[in-house]
Amino acid sequence: MTDLLQPRDEAELAEAVRSAFAGKTPLAVEGAGTKAGIGRPLQTERTLTAKGLTGVTLYEPSEMVIGARAGTPLREIEATLAEKGQALTFEPVDYRGLLGTAGEPTIGGVAAANNSGPRRIMAGACRDSLIGVRFVNGRGEVVKTGGRVMKNVTGLDLVKLMAGSWGTLGVMSEVIFKVLPAPAHTVTVVLHGLDDARAVEAMAAGLGSPFEVNGAAHLPAGLERVSKTLLRLEGFPESMAYRAAELRKLLKGFGGADVVEGDPATSLWRQVRDATFIAEPRDAAVWRISIAPSKAAAAVAAIRRALPVRCFYDWGGGLVWLATTPAGDAGSGPIRAALAGTGGHATLIRAPAEVRASVPVFEPQPAAIAALSAGIKASFDPAGILNPGRMAAGL
């Protein structure tokens, strides 16, 4: 068992990090730990959790902004927003199903993982919604960056660095997000029987239309009996009827289409968001591949030639969730070979700790970028005590 530090406020949090800095004691940093299995395994004796820092600190529906202490459960944020008909725009992924973890994901964890779901394709990523952060850096200093207004270019935008830094640069104590009205109605146009390449073309046609498709996913045959390609529209009901009809007209060349609405549509997109389709078998390794959509199908085909693969596409093809055998390097070699030269990259989301210890979980970076990243790590956390090595050796 490791020691658990659970500060109750930002001052205690800063004190905990300051003393770790003084003693050069490495810390595992977490919220509720629902994503603790992502990244390289940590060799730390102490865990610092932000779970004790809770509560919404600011909510102004008419300004479309919400702030909360980092340990606030995501569920509480979503419930608070729902009361006023609003929502986080980027649909944070719930990793519990995929990773088999329990507990309530925290809003700080969402930010640290830059965790974005299907709507990312139109509405931006978590990092685009995150507008302000307070955090404790590796010296134990409380730093603020950004703020509560959505237009702010004052100084270096450290908010973006905090998003997706997986607790390696600072421990967030408070986060502020911009939010949007929750969509009044959801409609999904479903195409059937397309192969991966045709499906990506169909999604590109939808996303390139004026109808504001804000989700585009493809479930290949193998996941479904016949493949399904999903294009989502959200908005006021009367508008959705019109747009769905126009979209179907536009996509006529891709075969007949059905329409799914309301709760079934919502639940379908939740499964896309959380990658539920490939959660089983439990022992499979799971990768998340980010790539320009038009290159995705060919890259997946190349991976298939080397590995047994179950996968599906989100973000119009720009995101591939891929399950394969956990044996050896869990497919790292063939997957990264297939992505070489495409500009795409792969992150190992689920694999046994031994694999994650030996295979780069995050895509290895070119030397110049790696050097800048190492410099940035040192500028926040000179003693290397925050989640050391979680993203790469030295980060």
Partner: protein
């Protein structure tokens, strides 16, 4: 004006001017090097025209490799570098000094690749913002961030300042619409940050490069997201008896779940100035004016505008003008878009750029009026109502040093007010030299030091656009750390 200090130029560098010019001349074609005093004058200021400084020389390279060679030379020779696009910065971000060269990317202005299927395009960074949209218009696409200066300003400048535009309420600002950059580091290394995928591995370096005001490297290419335009767009114009009722109307529209593509606010002085200039048909008997634009098919716009008009009526709207034609749409926007130009015709002005929480609007408008009156000056307000980004235009006489000083002081008071009510010093124009010395109103030393430590990862010697963003006093240098 004289309020803003420039550091004393490094005499050793100034003394080596001939040698430096000779060194640079070996790196680029003769026409790419500007050295005569006359020609350097064209680069002595930017959009903050009250301040002027002659650069040591101006270099206008054509390739990333040339940029690399120039930076390597400057790095090795301790020469400061001010990157420049079109020089429309309103915060003095592109102004250099006698010991610094200007490195302009305006010759690098080509579209490199357009990919409609992936909704991305690659451009050289010196291309103008408008040219980017024009290059993809024929397929119904556009590049979303649309600063009013888009005819002139470059993507490089947009990236450095994280520029916004009238439509960013719906589509976001530059940082939300750039996927990658090719950038040259101070030592000449050429790096690709981000790319054509929607997220990049590792730390979000692109996120700090955007908005870094030319202090981390020189951007030479960019990969941009492009979007398919909506079927149509149409504005409605509202006149309100008070700014409070206009502000409440904006809040109620958002509460009703409607996010229009633009919501622009003008106060009475701005309405009068713009109407006199543009003859846009603005009502002159109201205290506040809102222009709200929606997008979609005709039927969708009818429906959304009907909801918006209904909400405005509940908030006591006095004048409602719905556009019925492209001409009427153009007229409604013409007044707003000419706000800066029209103000410039009647007086010199400085344009402030603070952001406030929109709930504070009535209070801030009242305080701002008091502040400006306290200096015996006038102010006109145009601003992005959806996001609280204010643009008070403080009018003064540039030839009157006392009044110029007053205008600057009033501006500083207003920005301080923005911070006090929970907002920030700059929403889209950048810090530059203009707001540099106000940074401690918004950030404490620890906040600023963390930013400067990150800056130092890219430029340990403060050679890249050094006089900007961070207060001249109390700058953090890597050497100051006792390991």
């Amino acid at each position: 004006m004289s309020g803003i200090a420039f550091p004393t130029p490094d005499a050793r560098v100034v003394a080596r001017r001939d040698e430096i010019v000779a060194g640079l001349s070996r790196l680029v074609a003769p026409e790419a090097l500007v050295t005569s005093e006359d020609e350097r004058r064209a680069f002595e200021t930017d959009g903050l025209t009250a301040y002027r400084k002659l650069p040591l020389a101006v270099v206008l390279p054509s390739t990333t490799e040339e940029v690399s060679a120039i930076l390597r030379y400057c790095h090795e020779n301790g020469v400061k570098v001010v990157p420049r696009g079109a020089g429309t910065s309103l915060c003095g971000g592109a102004i250099a000094q006698e010991d610094a060269i200007i490195l302009g990317v305006s010759k690098m202005n080509r579209v490199l690749d357009v990919n409609f299927a992936d909704r991305t395009m690659r451009v050289q960074a010196g291309i103008t913002n408008l040219a980017v949209s024009q290059a993809v218009n024929y397929e119904g696409f556009f590049y979303a961030p649309d600063p009013s200066s888009q005819l002139a300003c470059t993507i490089a400048g947009n990236i450095a300042n994280n520029s916004g535009g009238a439509h960013c309420l719906k589509y976001g600002v530059t940082t939300n619409n750039v996927l990658g950059v090719r950038m040259v580091l101070l030592d000449g290394a050429i790096v690709d940050i981000g790319g054509d995928a929607l997220d990049a591995p590792g730390y979000d370096l692109l996120g700090i490069v955007v908005g870094s005001e030319g202090q981390l490297g020189v951007v030479t290419e960019a990969t941009l997201r492009i979007l398919r335009a909506a079927e149509g767009a149409r504005p409605v114009l509202f006149g309100f008896p008070t700014s409070e009722s206009a502000g409440a109307c904006v809040a109620a529209i958002i509460a009703a779940g409607i996010v229009p593509v633009a919501m622009e606010f003008m106060d009475k002085p701005a309405i009068e100035i713009c109407e006199a200039f543009a003859k846009a048909g603005y009502p002159l008997d109201v205290e506040a004016l809102l222009i709200i634009e929606v997008e979609g098919s005709d039927a969708e716009m009818d429906a959304t505008l009907a909801r918006i008009v209904e909400i405005a009526k509940q908030h006591g709207v006095q004048t409602v003008k719905e556009s019925k034609s492209a001409m009427e749409t153009a007229a409604i926007w013409k007044g707003r878009k000419s706000a800066f130009g029209a103000t410039g015709r009647i007086a010199d002005y400085i344009c402030m750029d603070g952001t406030i929480p929109t709930g504070q609007l009535p209070y801030v408008l009242k305080r701002m009026d008091e502040i400006v009156k306290g200096y015996s000056l006038r102010v006109a307000n145009v601003f992005h109502a959806g996001d609280g980004n204010l643009h008070p235009l403080i009018m003064y006489n540039v030839n009157d040093p006392v009044e110029a000083k007053k205008a600057e002081d009033a501006g500083n008071d207003i920005l301080t007010l923005c911070v006090e009510v929970g907002g920030c010093l700059t929403g889209e124009h950048g810090v530059g030299i203009e707001k540099r010395d106000l940074m401690r109103r918004q950030f404490n030393d620890v906040d600023l030091e963390q930013q400067m430590r990150v800056r130092a990862v890219f430029d340990r010697q403060w050679l890249l656009n050094p006089a900007k963003v961070f207060p001249l006093e109390g700058r953090w240098l890597p050497q100051t750390d006792a390991a």
